[in-house]
Amino acid sequence: MITLQHVTKIYKNTVTALEDVSVEIQKGEFVFIVGPSGSGKSTAIRLLLKEEEPTAGEIFVAGKDLSKISSWKTPLLRRNIGTVFQDFKLLTDKTVFENIAFALEVIGKPKHVIDQRVPEIVELVGLSDKLNNYPNELSGGEQQRISLARAVVNRPLILLADEPTGNLDPATSVDIMRLLDKVNRIGTTIVMATHDHAIVDAMRRRVIELEAGKVVRDQERGVYGVAP
């Protein structure tokens, strides 16, 4: 589903964010990318979204060579990739329903599809009673669930999550991880960049550890701390 071959990313010819990274992620996998700040986690996510171009190496997402996707077809790539961020990225002047509907509306989905899918997905994240609330009226965990609902409402093949629990307390984080697990079980490939030891240790999924832009560990059913 995702392949990186000898990918290097150097910003402004001086800062090396990723160095010769080669990773293969299969369809349906759940992968954690761990490592300290500045180790290249966010750069990897930006590369997968084609927000940045690699300095060297090749990236394949859903069978497509990203370097061969023209800029005007990049939006179509992004429709296959859902994204969740630490800061939720919800629009404060729109209700829960409108926030999720917006994501479908701007890719041209007809109204009847929106009216059907939005309540469905909000039910999946367990917030059906908050459809007409504004983001400010929700807790952080609830906002992140809405953000997750928006990320998957268009049924993407891949979900990229960049520190999705970064702003949440441990109990709420567990709720979010349950949801991500649920989304993974219906076949969505999930790549999650995180700092959260407890979550990584508890989930026992594949862990890719980055350090100074290099892969220093790639382990099936790993934990956060360095393996023996």
Binding site: P75, L91, I107
Partner: protein
């Protein structure tokens, strides 16, 4: 998948409302600039009407004395045609002069009615190759200038010779001056309106940067992101142009039309002249506002 127009329209309207006061400024300058451009075009049209009316596109008129002698006409025509500075000589008989007069003052039926055709002199209408060589024509016709500047001409059958350029020169320079002033003002105003429209778009982009970021993340096309902003800019331009066109009509009705009854011998612009420039004004305002919006997006919207 057919694009849905309704959300695009809604975003455009929201954008216009959100930037209310800035949008009003942009619309006002668009109005002023289109008004000035229209004004310049109409002044130009009015000048052409005047020139046409007063000269009939002829630079020198040789009015013939009554009754017209055909031998004289042939003689004078061949005399003038041989002059190197003359391009063409056309004999306009009384009937022709009358027809031209009636056409020119079609909007002044009273004037036409009270002017019998016999009162209009026949003339030789001379087109000059070099319009500055009026003296050559005057000399060929045996004209001499007296102390007060009047010409008396020796050639038989010639009543009066008029260099239309000198009579109109003073007026032309006034018109030319107006045309340039209004034209320069129009260009300045156009630039100002383009900058103001670009600015409203920029403010709009900034106000909606979160929305734009999310649109990009969920895979909205560039087209889908840009159209509401483009539409916003073009609507501002078009509103300005609409008001400007309305004002051109108002000015014509309140300032030009009363002149019609006072200055009887001069044709004035009519509604049709304004209607004729309306498409150009609309095209111009669309191009300027579209260009300004595209410029603002190139500058302030990374893809």
């Amino acid at each position: 998948m057919p694009p849905r127009l309704e959300p695009l329209f809604r975003e455009t309207v929201v954008g216009l409302k959100r930037n209310g006061s800035i949008a009003v400024a942009a619309i006002s300058t668009a109005f002023i600039s289109v008004f000035l451009v229209g004004g310049a075009l109409l002044i130009n049209r009015q000048a052409n009407l005047l020139i046409d009316a007063l000269t009939g596109n002829v630079e020198v008129s040789v009015f013939l004395s009554d009754p017209v002698n055909t031998d004289n006409v042939t003689h004078l025509t061949s005399l003038l045609t041989t002059l190197p500075s003359v391009a063409d000589v056309h004999y306009e008989d009384k009937a022709e002069a009358c027809a031209r007069f009636q056409k020119q003052f079609a909007q002044e039926p009273a004037l036409v009615e009270n002017t019998p055709c016999s009162a209009l002199p026949a003339s030789l209408r001379v087109k000059m190759r070099d319009p500055n060589q009026f003296r050559q024509v005057a000399a060929a016709l045996g004209c001499t200038q007296d102390a007060s500047g009047n010409l008396s001409c020796g050639q038989p059958g010639v009543e009066r010779v008029r260099d239309n350029r000198t009579t109109l020169n003073a007026m032309f320079s006034v018109i030319r001056f107006f045309r340039i002033v209004v034209g320069v003002l129009a260009v300045i105003a156009l630039i100002a309106s383009a900058l103001l429209i670009a600015n409203t778009i920029r403010v709009g982009l900034f106000a909606r940067r979160r929305e734009i970021g999310i649109m990009r993340l969920v895979g909205a096309t560039n087209w889908r992101i840009r159209v509401p902003f483009l539409a916003e800019g073009v609507i501002q331009g078009l509103l300005g142009a609409g008001i400007a066109i309305l004002f051109l009509f108002i000015v014509k009705v309140t300032l030009v039309d009363p002149e019609r009854t006072i200055v009887k011998f001069v044709p004035f612009i009519r509604n049709g002249d304004i209607v004729a420039i309306v498409p150009w004004l609309i095209v111009l305002s669309v191009l300027v506002s579209l260009g300004a919006s595209l410029f603002a997006m190139r500058r302030f919207l990374e893809v």
